[in-house]
Homo-oligomer: 170 residues x 2
Amino acid sequence: MADGRNSGTIGGENLLFLTDEQLRQGIEAMFFAYRGFTADPDRILADLAYGRAHHRAVHFINRAPGTTVNNLLNILGVTKQSLNRVLRTLIADGLVESRVGKTDKRERHLHLTDDGRALESRLSDAQRARMRSAFRDAGPDAVAGFRTVLEAMMDNEMQRAYTRLKESGS
Amino acid sequence: MADGRNSGTIGGENLLFLTDEQLRQGIEAMFFAYRGFTADPDRILADLAYGRAHHRAVHFINRAPGTTVNNLLNILGVTKQSLNRVLRTLIADGLVESRVGKTDKRERHLHLTDDGRALESRLSDAQRARMRSAFRDAGPDAVAGFRTVLEAMMDNEMQRAYTRLKESGS
DNA sequence: AGTTTATGTCAGCCTTGTTGACATTCCAAG
DNA sequence: CTTGGAATGTCAACAAGGCTGACATAAACT
Protein backbone atom coordinates (compact mmCIF):
# COMPACT_ATOMS: atom_id res chain seq x y z
CA MET A 1 0.00 0.00 0.00
CA ALA A 2 2.93 2.30 0.62
CA ASP A 3 5.02 0.68 -2.06
CA GLY A 4 4.24 3.34 -4.61
CA ARG A 5 2.65 0.80 -6.90
CA ASN A 6 -0.91 0.06 -7.82
CA SER A 7 -3.57 -2.55 -7.76
CA GLY A 8 -2.99 -3.57 -11.33
CA THR A 9 -5.41 -6.05 -12.82
CA ILE A 10 -6.63 -8.67 -10.44
CA GLY A 11 -8.97 -11.54 -10.94
CA GLY A 12 -9.60 -10.77 -14.58
CA GLU A 13 -11.30 -7.45 -13.75
CA ASN A 14 -9.71 -4.25 -14.97
CA LEU A 15 -8.85 -2.17 -11.93
CA LEU A 16 -6.54 0.29 -13.61
CA PHE A 17 -8.73 3.12 -12.35
CA LEU A 18 -7.51 2.25 -8.86
CA THR A 19 -3.80 2.84 -9.38
CA ASP A 20 -2.08 5.13 -6.90
CA GLU A 21 -1.61 7.63 -9.69
CA GLN A 22 -5.34 7.63 -10.46
CA LEU A 23 -6.13 8.05 -6.79
CA ARG A 24 -3.70 10.93 -6.50
CA GLN A 25 -5.31 12.64 -9.45
CA GLY A 26 -8.67 12.19 -7.77
CA ILE A 27 -7.29 13.74 -4.59
CA GLU A 28 -5.86 16.71 -6.43
CA ALA A 29 -9.03 17.16 -8.47
CA MET A 30 -10.98 17.27 -5.22
CA PHE A 31 -8.62 19.88 -3.81
CA PHE A 32 -8.77 22.22 -6.78
CA ALA A 33 -12.48 21.74 -7.41
CA TYR A 34 -13.37 22.59 -3.83
CA ARG A 35 -11.59 25.90 -4.25
CA GLY A 36 -13.74 26.63 -7.28
CA PHE A 37 -16.79 25.44 -5.43
CA THR A 38 -16.38 28.06 -2.68
CA ALA A 39 -14.80 30.85 -4.71
CA ASP A 40 -17.96 32.67 -5.83
CA PRO A 41 -19.77 32.81 -2.47
CA ASP A 42 -16.47 33.72 -0.79
CA ARG A 43 -16.19 36.79 -2.99
CA ILE A 44 -19.68 37.93 -2.03
CA LEU A 45 -19.11 37.24 1.65
CA ALA A 46 -15.84 39.14 1.77
CA ASP A 47 -17.69 42.39 1.02
CA LEU A 48 -20.08 41.77 3.90
CA ALA A 49 -17.58 40.96 6.64
CA TYR A 50 -18.96 37.45 6.74
CA GLY A 51 -17.14 34.20 6.14
CA ARG A 52 -17.76 30.69 4.96
CA ALA A 53 -19.09 29.76 8.38
CA HIS A 54 -21.94 32.24 7.97
CA HIS A 55 -22.70 30.85 4.55
CA ARG A 56 -22.98 27.31 5.86
CA ALA A 57 -25.28 28.35 8.70
CA VAL A 58 -27.54 30.34 6.40
CA HIS A 59 -27.62 27.54 3.85
CA PHE A 60 -28.78 24.86 6.25
CA ILE A 61 -31.22 27.10 8.12
CA ASN A 62 -32.79 27.86 4.76
CA ARG A 63 -32.83 24.20 3.88
CA ALA A 64 -34.51 23.13 7.11
CA PRO A 65 -36.36 26.12 8.56
CA GLY A 66 -37.14 25.83 12.25
CA THR A 67 -34.20 23.55 12.87
CA THR A 68 -32.71 23.64 16.35
CA VAL A 69 -29.22 24.72 17.29
CA ASN A 70 -28.32 21.20 18.25
CA ASN A 71 -29.50 19.82 14.94
CA LEU A 72 -27.46 22.39 13.06
CA LEU A 73 -24.45 21.51 15.18
CA ASN A 74 -24.64 17.90 14.05
CA ILE A 75 -24.95 18.82 10.41
CA LEU A 76 -22.10 21.32 10.45
CA GLY A 77 -19.78 19.29 12.63
CA VAL A 78 -18.48 22.19 14.71
CA THR A 79 -18.70 23.07 18.40
CA LYS A 80 -21.60 25.03 19.79
CA GLN A 81 -19.24 27.84 20.79
CA SER A 82 -18.06 28.17 17.25
CA LEU A 83 -21.55 28.06 15.79
CA ASN A 84 -22.86 30.37 18.46
CA ARG A 85 -20.45 33.10 17.54
CA VAL A 86 -21.65 32.98 13.95
CA LEU A 87 -25.34 32.78 14.89
CA ARG A 88 -24.98 35.70 17.27
CA THR A 89 -23.78 38.00 14.52
CA LEU A 90 -26.43 36.76 12.09
CA ILE A 91 -29.18 37.36 14.65
CA ALA A 92 -27.75 40.76 15.62
CA ASP A 93 -27.69 41.72 11.94
CA GLY A 94 -31.29 40.65 11.50
CA LEU A 95 -30.67 37.80 9.07
CA VAL A 96 -31.70 34.98 11.38
CA GLU A 97 -34.51 34.76 13.90
CA SER A 98 -34.28 32.52 16.97
CA ARG A 99 -37.62 31.41 18.38
CA VAL A 100 -38.01 29.65 21.71
CA GLY A 101 -39.49 26.18 21.23
CA LYS A 102 -43.22 25.73 21.86
CA THR A 103 -43.21 22.27 23.38
CA ASP A 104 -39.64 22.33 24.64
CA LYS A 105 -38.74 25.83 25.69
CA ARG A 106 -35.03 25.03 25.96
CA GLU A 107 -34.78 24.66 22.22
CA ARG A 108 -34.28 27.56 19.84
CA HIS A 109 -35.77 27.18 16.42
CA LEU A 110 -33.93 29.04 13.70
CA HIS A 111 -35.50 30.82 10.76
CA LEU A 112 -34.21 33.19 8.12
CA THR A 113 -35.68 36.67 7.99
CA ASP A 114 -36.45 38.27 4.62
CA ASP A 115 -32.97 39.79 4.65
CA GLY A 116 -31.53 36.39 5.49
CA ARG A 117 -33.35 34.78 2.61
CA ALA A 118 -32.09 37.52 0.32
CA LEU A 119 -28.50 36.80 1.27
CA GLU A 120 -29.04 33.07 0.97
CA SER A 121 -30.37 33.55 -2.55
CA ARG A 122 -27.43 35.67 -3.58
CA LEU A 123 -24.95 33.14 -2.28
CA SER A 124 -26.68 30.09 -3.57
CA ASP A 125 -27.38 31.61 -6.98
CA ALA A 126 -23.67 32.18 -7.37
CA GLN A 127 -22.79 28.70 -6.23
CA ARG A 128 -25.49 27.04 -8.29
CA ALA A 129 -24.45 28.93 -11.39
CA ARG A 130 -21.03 27.34 -11.28
CA MET A 131 -22.46 23.93 -10.43
CA ARG A 132 -24.96 24.22 -13.25
CA SER A 133 -22.28 25.11 -15.74
CA ALA A 134 -20.10 22.24 -14.58
CA PHE A 135 -23.03 19.79 -14.70
CA ARG A 136 -24.06 20.96 -18.15
CA ASP A 137 -20.54 20.66 -19.51
CA ALA A 138 -20.13 17.21 -18.01
CA GLY A 139 -23.53 15.75 -18.94
CA PRO A 140 -26.02 13.65 -16.99
CA ASP A 141 -24.00 10.42 -16.87
CA ALA A 142 -20.94 12.17 -15.48
CA VAL A 143 -23.14 13.93 -12.92
CA ALA A 144 -24.54 10.61 -11.75
CA GLY A 145 -21.01 9.27 -11.35
CA PHE A 146 -19.92 12.40 -9.54
CA ARG A 147 -22.68 11.97 -6.98
CA THR A 148 -22.02 8.25 -6.57
CA VAL A 149 -18.36 8.81 -5.78
CA LEU A 150 -19.03 11.70 -3.41
CA GLU A 151 -21.56 9.68 -1.47
CA ALA A 152 -19.08 6.82 -1.19
CA MET A 153 -16.51 9.26 0.17
CA MET A 154 -18.66 10.43 3.10
CA ASP A 155 -18.55 9.05 6.62
CA ASN A 156 -21.61 7.05 7.56
CA GLU A 157 -22.84 9.81 9.81
CA MET A 158 -22.58 12.43 7.10
CA GLN A 159 -24.21 10.08 4.64
CA ARG A 160 -27.20 9.90 6.93
CA ALA A 161 -27.37 13.68 7.29
CA TYR A 162 -27.02 14.07 3.54
CA THR A 163 -29.69 11.50 2.74
CA ARG A 164 -32.09 13.00 5.24
CA LEU A 165 -31.70 16.40 3.60
CA LYS A 166 -31.92 14.92 0.13
CA GLU A 167 -35.16 13.13 0.89
CA SER A 168 -36.70 16.23 2.44
CA GLY A 169 -36.02 18.02 -0.86
CA SER A 170 -38.79 20.10 -2.42
CA MET B 1 -32.32 32.03 -11.85
CA ALA B 2 -33.61 33.10 -8.46
CA ASP B 3 -37.17 32.02 -9.18
CA GLY B 4 -36.80 28.78 -7.29
CA ARG B 5 -37.57 26.74 -10.40
CA ASN B 6 -35.52 24.72 -12.76
CA SER B 7 -34.46 24.39 -16.31
CA GLY B 8 -37.02 21.75 -17.15
CA THR B 9 -36.76 20.10 -20.52
CA ILE B 10 -35.67 22.37 -23.31
CA GLY B 11 -35.27 21.72 -26.98
CA GLY B 12 -36.20 18.08 -26.69
CA GLU B 13 -33.19 17.28 -24.52
CA ASN B 14 -33.74 16.02 -21.01
CA LEU B 15 -32.17 18.50 -18.61
CA LEU B 16 -33.82 17.28 -15.45
CA PHE B 17 -30.38 16.76 -13.94
CA LEU B 18 -30.04 20.55 -13.91
CA THR B 19 -32.96 21.40 -11.66
CA ASP B 20 -32.23 23.65 -8.70
CA GLU B 21 -32.93 20.71 -6.42
CA GLN B 22 -30.37 18.56 -8.24
CA LEU B 23 -27.83 21.35 -8.05
CA ARG B 24 -28.47 21.81 -4.36
CA GLN B 25 -27.92 18.12 -3.79
CA GLY B 26 -24.67 18.39 -5.69
CA ILE B 27 -23.62 21.31 -3.49
CA GLU B 28 -24.44 19.44 -0.31
CA ALA B 29 -22.75 16.27 -1.54
CA MET B 30 -19.63 18.34 -2.19
CA PHE B 31 -19.77 19.80 1.31
CA PHE B 32 -20.16 16.50 3.13
CA ALA B 33 -17.74 14.62 0.91
CA TYR B 34 -15.00 17.17 1.43
CA ARG B 35 -15.27 16.61 5.15
CA GLY B 36 -14.76 12.90 4.59
CA PHE B 37 -11.95 13.64 2.18
CA THR B 38 -9.92 15.50 4.82
CA ALA B 39 -11.02 13.58 7.92
CA ASP B 40 -8.36 10.86 7.94
CA PRO B 41 -5.28 13.04 7.39
CA ASP B 42 -6.68 15.58 9.85
CA ARG B 43 -6.75 12.95 12.55
CA ILE B 44 -3.11 12.08 11.94
CA LEU B 45 -2.06 15.73 11.81
CA ALA B 46 -3.82 16.59 15.06
CA ASP B 47 -1.41 14.33 16.96
CA LEU B 48 1.56 16.08 15.42
CA ALA B 49 0.60 19.71 16.05
CA TYR B 50 0.31 20.20 12.31
CA GLY B 51 -2.69 21.30 10.29
CA ARG B 52 -4.16 20.92 6.86
CA ALA B 53 -1.86 23.62 5.53
CA HIS B 54 1.17 21.48 6.38
CA HIS B 55 -0.40 18.54 4.61
CA ARG B 56 -0.97 20.53 1.44
CA ALA B 57 2.59 21.86 1.43
CA VAL B 58 4.09 18.42 1.99
CA HIS B 59 1.84 16.90 -0.67
CA PHE B 60 2.84 19.30 -3.41
CA ILE B 61 6.52 19.39 -2.51
CA ASN B 62 6.50 15.62 -2.78
CA ARG B 63 4.66 15.84 -6.07
CA ALA B 64 7.12 18.32 -7.59
CA PRO B 65 10.44 18.09 -5.76
CA GLY B 66 12.66 21.13 -6.16
CA THR B 67 9.72 23.42 -6.73
CA THR B 68 10.18 27.05 -5.71
CA VAL B 69 8.24 28.88 -3.05
CA ASN B 70 6.62 31.03 -5.70
CA ASN B 71 5.49 28.03 -7.69
CA LEU B 72 3.98 26.45 -4.60
CA LEU B 73 2.23 29.74 -3.86
CA ASN B 74 0.42 29.62 -7.17
CA ILE B 75 -0.68 26.04 -6.68
CA LEU B 76 -1.91 26.55 -3.14
CA GLY B 77 -3.56 29.91 -3.72
CA VAL B 78 -2.49 31.50 -0.45
CA THR B 79 -0.23 34.42 0.37
CA LYS B 80 3.48 33.87 0.59
CA GLN B 81 3.43 34.96 4.23
CA SER B 82 0.92 32.28 5.09
CA LEU B 83 2.86 29.60 3.27
CA ASN B 84 6.11 30.81 4.76
CA ARG B 85 4.96 30.20 8.30
CA VAL B 86 4.08 26.63 7.46
CA LEU B 87 7.34 26.07 5.62
CA ARG B 88 9.33 27.54 8.50
CA THR B 89 7.96 24.96 10.95
CA LEU B 90 8.43 22.13 8.46
CA ILE B 91 12.03 23.17 7.87
CA ALA B 92 12.68 23.65 11.59
CA ASP B 93 11.30 20.17 12.24
CA GLY B 94 13.52 18.69 9.55
CA LEU B 95 10.78 17.56 7.20
CA VAL B 96 11.57 19.97 4.40
CA GLU B 97 14.86 21.22 3.05
CA SER B 98 15.18 24.64 1.43
CA ARG B 99 18.06 25.00 -1.02
CA VAL B 100 19.13 28.35 -2.41
CA GLY B 101 18.75 28.41 -6.19
CA LYS B 102 21.87 27.78 -8.27
CA THR B 103 21.19 30.12 -11.16
CA ASP B 104 18.91 32.51 -9.30
CA LYS B 105 19.90 32.89 -5.68
CA ARG B 106 16.62 34.59 -4.79
CA GLU B 107 14.77 31.33 -5.29
CA ARG B 108 14.49 28.57 -2.71
CA HIS B 109 14.04 25.05 -4.00
CA LEU B 110 12.04 22.79 -1.72
CA HIS B 111 12.65 19.09 -1.09
CA LEU B 112 11.32 16.59 1.42
CA THR B 113 13.78 14.95 3.76
CA ASP B 114 13.42 11.25 4.61
CA ASP B 115 11.29 12.21 7.59
CA GLY B 116 9.22 14.44 5.35
CA ARG B 117 8.66 11.63 2.90
CA ALA B 118 7.65 9.37 5.77
CA LEU B 119 4.98 11.80 6.92
CA GLU B 120 3.79 12.33 3.36
CA SER B 121 3.36 8.59 2.97
CA ARG B 122 1.40 8.27 6.17
CA LEU B 123 -0.96 11.07 5.21
CA SER B 124 -1.42 10.08 1.65
CA ASP B 125 -1.88 6.39 2.45
CA ALA B 126 -4.77 7.38 4.71
CA GLN B 127 -6.31 9.67 2.14
CA ARG B 128 -5.82 7.24 -0.72
CA ALA B 129 -7.38 4.42 1.28
CA ARG B 130 -10.64 6.31 1.51
CA MET B 131 -10.46 7.41 -2.10
CA ARG B 132 -9.73 3.86 -3.20
CA SER B 133 -12.65 2.49 -1.28
CA ALA B 134 -14.96 5.16 -2.71
CA PHE B 135 -13.68 4.53 -6.25
CA ARG B 136 -14.06 0.80 -5.92
CA ASP B 137 -17.60 1.08 -4.57
CA ALA B 138 -18.57 3.49 -7.31
CA GLY B 139 -16.92 1.73 -10.25
CA PRO B 140 -14.87 3.02 -13.19
CA ASP B 141 -17.67 4.80 -15.05
CA ALA B 142 -18.72 6.75 -11.97
CA VAL B 143 -15.08 7.66 -11.35
CA ALA B 144 -14.74 9.02 -14.85
CA GLY B 145 -17.85 11.14 -14.32
CA PHE B 146 -16.58 12.31 -10.96
CA ARG B 147 -13.38 13.57 -12.52
CA THR B 148 -15.17 15.20 -15.44
CA VAL B 149 -17.45 17.20 -13.17
CA LEU B 150 -14.65 18.24 -10.82
CA GLU B 151 -12.54 19.48 -13.70
CA ALA B 152 -15.48 21.47 -15.01
CA MET B 153 -15.89 23.03 -11.57
CA MET B 154 -12.35 24.44 -11.40
CA ASP B 155 -11.32 27.93 -12.36
CA ASN B 156 -9.25 28.10 -15.53
CA GLU B 157 -6.14 28.85 -13.58
CA MET B 158 -6.57 25.84 -11.30
CA GLN B 159 -7.40 23.69 -14.27
CA ARG B 160 -4.04 24.55 -15.73
CA ALA B 161 -2.24 23.79 -12.47
CA TYR B 162 -4.15 20.53 -12.17
CA THR B 163 -3.43 19.47 -15.74
CA ARG B 164 0.23 20.30 -15.43
CA LEU B 165 0.51 18.10 -12.36
CA LYS B 166 -1.53 15.38 -13.97
CA GLU B 167 0.65 15.24 -17.03
CA SER B 168 3.82 15.17 -14.94
CA GLY B 169 2.45 12.04 -13.22
CA SER B 170 4.67 9.02 -12.87
C1' DA C 1 -36.05 17.00 44.81
C1' DG C 2 -32.37 15.84 42.05
C1' DT C 3 -30.45 14.73 37.54
C1' DT C 4 -30.05 15.22 32.85
C1' DT C 5 -30.50 17.86 28.58
C1' DA C 6 -30.38 21.98 25.57
C1' DT C 7 -28.66 26.19 25.10
C1' DG C 8 -25.84 30.23 25.68
C1' DT C 9 -21.70 32.81 27.36
C1' DC C 10 -16.95 33.97 28.78
C1' DA C 11 -12.11 33.26 28.45
C1' DG C 12 -8.26 31.67 26.16
C1' DC C 13 -5.70 28.94 22.80
C1' DC C 14 -4.28 27.38 17.90
C1' DT C 15 -4.17 27.31 12.89
C1' DT C 16 -4.18 29.71 8.97
C1' DG C 17 -5.72 33.26 6.39
C1' DT C 18 -4.65 38.50 5.68
C1' DT C 19 -1.60 43.25 5.00
C1' DG C 20 2.45 45.99 5.74
C1' DA C 21 7.34 46.61 6.06
C1' DC C 22 11.69 45.12 4.78
C1' DA C 23 16.01 42.53 2.98
C1' DT C 24 18.17 40.30 -0.71
C1' DT C 25 19.05 39.32 -5.39
C1' DC C 26 18.68 39.87 -10.24
C1' DC C 27 18.35 42.38 -14.43
C1' DA C 28 18.07 46.01 -17.56
C1' DA C 29 18.41 50.96 -18.86
C1' DG C 30 21.06 54.58 -18.72
C1' DC D 1 29.15 50.36 -13.92
C1' DT D 2 25.71 52.03 -11.47
C1' DT D 3 21.24 52.53 -10.18
C1' DG D 4 16.36 51.64 -9.96
C1' DG D 5 12.76 48.50 -10.41
C1' DA D 6 11.05 43.72 -10.22
C1' DA D 7 11.15 39.25 -8.13
C1' DT D 8 11.66 36.56 -4.18
C1' DG D 9 11.49 35.47 0.41
C1' DT D 10 11.23 36.76 5.69
C1' DC D 11 9.40 38.95 9.90
C1' DA D 12 5.57 41.18 12.56
C1' DA D 13 1.02 41.95 13.68
C1' DC D 14 -3.85 41.19 13.13
C1' DA D 15 -8.52 38.68 12.18
C1' DA D 16 -11.56 34.74 11.35
C1' DG D 17 -13.01 30.75 12.94
C1' DG D 18 -11.86 26.40 14.61
C1' DC D 19 -11.01 24.27 19.53
C1' DT D 20 -11.39 23.20 24.96
C1' DG D 21 -12.90 24.20 29.57
C1' DA D 22 -15.84 26.25 32.93
C1' DC D 23 -20.07 27.86 34.13
C1' DA D 24 -25.17 29.69 34.18
C1' DT D 25 -29.86 28.96 33.11
C1' DA D 26 -34.02 26.79 32.22
C1' DA D 27 -36.73 23.05 31.17
C1' DA D 28 -37.60 18.20 31.16
C1' DC D 29 -37.36 13.71 33.10
C1' DT D 30 -37.25 10.26 37.03
